[in-house]
């Protein structure tokens, strides 16, 4: 986005030299995150219960042939790895949108009911149709639940406009109620369905297949560019509604579009990977500690950080407790939190 730096210029007068240095630093940081992500993907592909070397993996990636290693890499590890990256990026961007929009550091996709709606739909699906319908319909049910919940929060909070503060209050209330019904369903359903539901709620990428990856990809391809187009409006809204309107921002339309992006991203991610929503809370914070202000700068960095967190969480779940394959959700906070504490400690004298 070329617009947002120019907006920043008007707001915080900085000399061209420092702006140039800031851009260079940002570009190198993004490049570094990208390289780390690629390297981590290579690492993740070569580790697993079946021993494979990095060279063998590269070889089978370059020239797929009929071998065990090719099967493991192409059909088991690669789709799972790609889904982890996509889901992490989607949740992080969804969280970044919400935190910027409602101007609350505690906001996450949970806050407007996305996660709890998806969880309720998924658990209801398992409890009611678990034996009659194929498990392949689970993502569709979860996605429908997420969208319905977000819509319901929106309608209940609507009073001629969408004030972020009211949206958040209605959202946490409705999330609490849906969470309660979810718990109730788990309590009354039989043990097997309850266990499946529990694993799903924790968030797992187990047994990912290519159709899942292809189902997740379009959401990101549409929503991420769209929210980048609106990045300038987001920065203006951060200064307050009056200033934003003065700068020519259509508050209602911008909020609706950005909110829709967030719902779509988080809803799809939760549908395919379950309750990993902690990524949506923590990744934007880590990213903003790294890159500073400006929504257009924040989004790519948050996406990379989110992808890295879920990648390592799933990798740990796969290989740390062999032969068990544990849900990635267990490790998401384990991977993200210590790093976040470190960042918080390091930046204690600079900001906030």
């Amino acid at each position: 986005m070329t617009h947002s730096p120019s907006l920043n210029h008007h707001l915080t007068p900085t000399s061209d030299a420092t702006a140039e240095a800031g851009r260079a630093r940002y570009a190198s940081l993004l490049g570094l995150l990208g390289v780390v992500l690629l390297a981590s993907m290579g690492l993740s592909l070569s580790l697993g219960s079946f021993p494979t070397s990095f060279v063998e993996v590269l070889h089978s990636l370059a020239a797929p042939q009929d071998s065990d290693i090719a099967f493991i890499v192409w059909e088991l590890r690669l789709p799972r790895l790609l889904l982890a990256v996509l889901v992490g990026a989607a949740l992080a961007v969804a969280g970044a949108i919400l935190q910027s929009m409602v101007r609350n550091p505690l906001a996450s996709p949970d806050v407007i009911g996305i996660t709890s709606g998806a969880a309720l739909a998924a658990v209801a699906f398992l409890a009611l149709f678990g034996t009659t319908l194929s498990i392949h319909w689970l993502p569709a049910a979860a996605l429908a639940g997420a969208l319905l919940a977000a819509l319901l929060v929106f309608l209940l909070a609507w009073k001629g406009s969408v004030a972020p503060s009211r949206l958040v209050l209605v959202g946490i209330g409705l999330s609490a109620a849906m969470g309660a019904v979810t718990t109730l369903l788990i309590v009354i359903s039989d043990d097997a369905a309850a266990m499946t539901a529990y694993v799903w709620l924790t968030g797992s990428l187990y047994a990912t297949q290519w159709p899942d990856v292809l189902g997740m990809l379009p959401w990101l391809l549409v929503a991420v560019p769209l929210c980048l187009v609106y990045a300038r409006h987001m920065d203006a809204m951060a200064l307050g509604d009056a200033v934003a309107q003065g700068l020519g921002v259509n508050l209602l339309r911008s909020r609706l579009v950005l909110m829709a992006c967030s719902v779509a991203l988080a809803g799809a991610a939760v549908a395919f990977a379950g309750g990993l929503s902690f990524v949506g809370l923590i990744a934007p914070h880590i990213a903003s500690r790294l890159v500073g202000r400006g929504f257009a700068r924040l989004v790519p960095a948050a996406a990379l950080v989110g992808a890295l967190i879920v990648l390592y969480a799933d990798l740990l779940g796969r290989v740390a407790f062999l032969p068990k394959d544990l849900p990635a959700g267990i490790f998401v906070s384990g991977v993200g939190a210590p790093f976040f504490v470190y960042l918080l400690h390091r930046t204690r004298y600079h900001r906030g």
Partner: protein, 332 residues
């Protein structure tokens, strides 16, 4: 909102009556119904050979006392947290209290041979205090000031860290999981009065602290500078109020486990009815929180009898419609 002084007083009195009614209902209703005469008789002439009297004193009364105490404490702690962080999404768990308590309980049960209820309560209290202190240390700025943003971020980080440590331990030790699960789900039943008594000074101390600091809490709403006008540094006030939160929420979590919703939502309800002035807000929180948890606990015995529904579930189911109504009614 209740604006007149008289209508607020009437509101609080109604709240007090609601608590009293809910308390009596909690003692009397259940699988074994205890009639009025039995109730009075047991209070006046306790007879240890009668089943109804035993049920009353070992099961019903502790349950009602804990529900009222925990509901009131969590709601007050939540209101103070929201004032301290100036964040409507804050709740006592943001100080890391729940996560710290959970981690220490998991350690006590799975690594150390501590299983007795009193030991678990002690471990939970210690964990809550340790985690909250960690959050305070991490969130202090250069001059020792507690900025709302840093408190929230540090709280999120510390919470996440303790939760993941606990989950890791629970995965390794599945049997520990079974025994901790009960505590994690949050419940006010199955505790004896002897567990409550040692914690009473903590509750009382915290309430005294709140009573002394209501005016300062009001000033905090207007900004740190306003507090200076009252003669005490804002940082000191925040630390003292934080201490009250730790005592209230830590003891509550230790007694009843993870009961969400009350600490987050009830302060909003009280604010919707009584406004932001802490002199009214805190008593309103106490009454609403206590009656909500008492009623939820009573309802949880009947919803799927003979199985008890987790009380946290009932709290959310009963409280949400009212809460959403309030959130909508408030002008933007």
């Amino acid at each position: 909102m209740l604006n007149q002084r008289t209508s607020r007083v009437v509101g609080l009195l109604l709240g007090l009556m609601l608590v009293a009614a809910a308390f009596v209902a909690s003692v009397m209703l259940g699988t074994t119904e205890i009639a009025w005469p039995t109730f009075l008789e047991a209070l006046l002439h306790y007879d240890s050979s009668r089943v109804a009297h035993i049920i009353l004193f070992t099961e019903r009364l502790p349950r009602a006392v804990i529900a009222a105490l925990v509901g009131a404490s969590l709601a007050i702690a939540g209101a103070l947290m929201q004032t301290l962080t100036r964040n409507p999404l804050a709740s006592p768990s943001i100080l890391g209290i729940n996560a710290g308590a959970m981690f220490f309980v998991v350690i006590a049960v799975s690594l150390l041979p501590l299983h007795a209820p009193a030991e678990v309560v002690g471990a939970a209290l210690l964990g809550a205090v340790v985690a909250a202190c960690l959050v305070v240390v991490l969130s202090r700025g250069r001059h020792g000031e507690l900025s709302p943003l840093r408190v929230v971020l540090a709280g999120v980080a510390v919470t996440a860290m303790f939760v993941s440590f606990s989950q890791g331990l629970l995965i390794i030790d599945r049997q520990g999981f079974e025994s901790v699960l009960y505590w994690l789900a949050g419940s006010v039943s199955g505790r004896e009065l002897s567990l409550v008594v040692p914690l009473l000074p903590l509750f009382a101390g915290a309430l005294l602290l709140c009573a002394l600091l209501v005016r300062h809490a009001n000033a905090l709403l207007l900004g740190d500078d306003m507090v200076k006008g009252l003669g005490i540094r804002a940082g000191t006030i925040k630390l003292l109020l934080g201490l009250a939160v730790i005592l209230l929420a830590g003891s509550s979590v230790a007694l009843a486990g993870m009961i969400g919703f009350v600490g987050l939502i009830v302060p909003h309800m009280a604010r919707g009815l009584f406004g932001v002035d802490h002199r009214w807000l805190l008593p309103a929180c106490a009454l609403l929180g206590a009656s909500l948890l008492l009623l939820a606990d009573v309802a949880s015995r009947f919803l799927m009898a003979p199985q008890d529904v987790p009380v946290g579930v009932m709290t959310a189911l009963i409280g949400t419609p009212f809460f959403i109504h309030l959130a909508r009614r408030k002008s933007a």
